[in-house]
């Protein structure tokens, strides 16, 4: 079970009030977790990663276990603490706009 924490705007959009818990098949990576997240909440498609390219949107960050994973490969294994459910994957809206 993977735990994912969404930023406030996306929690509102997905109609969730707290962290999301997902079952992910195979290795836990950014891609597999986001695939599972978007399958459960289709309204999030296009909001975290771009259609087509699948790239992380520029003002979205991925944090976990006190590390910034934003620039990791989408297919790199997530930290064991995230894969085991001990720590959540934090999806964060970057500070921007003054």
């Amino acid at each position: 079970m993977i735990r994912v924490e969404l930023p406030a705007h996306l929690r509102t959009l997905a109609h969730v009030t707290r962290e999301v818990q997902l079952d992910v098949e195979g290795p836990a990576t950014q891609r597999s977790v986001l695939d599972a997240l978007e399958a459960r909440y289709p309204m999030l498609q296009g909001t975290i990663r771009e259609y087509g390219s699948g790239r992380r949107r520029p003002f979205v960050r991925f944090f976990a276990n006190s590390e910034d994973l934003s620039h990791e490969s989408p297919d790199a294994p997530l930290p064991e603490e995230v894969a085991s459910g001990k720590e959540p994957l934090l999806i964060v809206g970057a500070i921007a706009g003054g």
Binding site: L10, G46, E50, V60
Partner: protein
């Protein structure tokens, strides 16, 4: 009992303002989608309870929302806007080629007859259509691909397709406008397009007879005379009496002919409204006086309408999609400002009163006349 529903898009959410036919007392609902930029909301002429809304932020991109109950509840619908084929390039601000990239939906135009069909004008400029109530979107790529696309350049606000006019007398005829490419017309339901910019004069481009490159801010028509078009260009108010084949300037005695909005009285096809803005570098009313100007002669002769509007220290702007008219017996006129006021006139502009004064900056105003 008749009434009106005003749909207001702002920098930080959407608001729905409703009133009976007297338009004196208003109910305010919102913010809907709090914190999101709501570029535009519009209702279907074929089913007034069907609304579409464009919702976006720089963080999470573009979302589309649909309501089936007049804005009481909303549901997200398709938000995938993929350019048809290889997108190609347009000109960047410095004249270099720049890849076409989708940024946001500026304007929504529901079909006049089918609630499930809606057009979307987007940045970078292109026209999309949905025929399944917003679930999926397909580009009408003949517009971008008609030939001049590589020469289009963005205006200061981005290269946006901001105006879509559907001809009530001919379902195959569509007019659109792009900043800063100009106006275009299709007579085959959007398959092929031609620029319609003859007669426009723009100091910002070297060739005054250029086919494209004019910064058109807004076009309006009266549904009874769809071949008469009115245009607020960057500078100049223009009209065409032949469906855009040629344009003549009708700025006349306006204090400045820069501005963004233009609209037509619901029952008088030669009565038009603009809000003059001082200049392209000073986006506020001249002399700090917020005035709507009305022409009852289709342009050239203009009268200021100031009753009820601030006449000192007013330095707001009125953006291109932020004016609309209702179709009650005495035509109502509405506009919103970047200062967060939405003003209404229940007497065709003779007098004004604010419906709300302190919203976030207003991006768009649309009105539905309800029976």
């Amino acid at each position: 009992m008749s009434g009106v529903r005003v749909l207001v898009g702002t920098r930080k959410g959407a608001f729905v303002l409703t009133s009976d036919g007297k338009r004196e007392k208003w109910d305010v609902s919102g913010p809907h989608f709090a914190g999101w930029e709501m570029y535009h909301l519009k209702g279907s002429p074929a089913d007034p309870n069907r609304l579409y809304a464009s919702q976006s932020t720089g963080w999470f991109g573009q979302l589309m929302q649909r309501s089936n109950d007049g804005g009481k509840t909303w549901e997200p619908v398709g938000n995938k806007f993929a350019y048809d084929g290889v997108p190609g390039t347009h000109q960047w601000y410095d004249g270099t080629p720049h890849p076409w990239e989708f940024k946001r939906v500026w304007h929504l135009e529901p079909s006049l007859t089918d609630p499930d069909t809606v057009y979307a004008g987007v940045e970078d400029a292109a026209l999309f259509r949905s025929t399944d109530a917003g679930a999926t979107w397909q580009e009408l790529s003949g517009l971008r691909g008609h030939g001049s696309g590589p020469h289009w350049q963005p205006g200061a606000g981005g290269m946006c397709l901001h105006t879509i006019l559907l001809d009530p007398s001919d379902p195959a005829r569509i007019f659109i406008a792009i900043s800063a490419a100009g106006a275009f017309r299709s007579v085959d339901a959007g398959v092929t397009w031609q620029p319609i910019n003859r007669g426009l004069r723009s100091q910002q481009i070297p060739d005054q007879d250029a086919e494209v490159g004019h910064c058109v801010h807004r076009i309006a028509m009266h549904r009874s005379r769809p071949s008469v078009l009115f245009m607020q260009k960057h500078w100049d108010v223009m009209r065409s009496d032949n469906g855009g084949d040629s344009w003549q300037e009708v700025s006349g005695n306006l204090p400045t002919d820069f501005g963004f909005v233009i609209d037509v009285h619901a029952h008088e096809p030669e009565t038009i409204f603009v809000v003059p803005i001082k200049s392209d570098s000073e986006h506020f009313p001249p002399e700090g006086k917020l005035r709507v100007f009305r022409s009852r002669t289709g342009g050239n002769e203009w009268e200021p309408l100031a009753k009820g509007l601030p006449q000192s220290n007013c330095y707001v702007n009125v953006l291109r999609d932020a004016m609309a008219v209702d179709s009650l017996d005495e035509c109502g006129v509405y506009f919103g400002t970047t200062g967060g006021q939405v003003y209404a006139s229940a007497d065709a502009g003779d007098s004004w009163a604010p419906i709300v004064r302190d919203l976030p900056a207003v991006l768009s105003v649309e009105v539905q006349t309800l029976q």
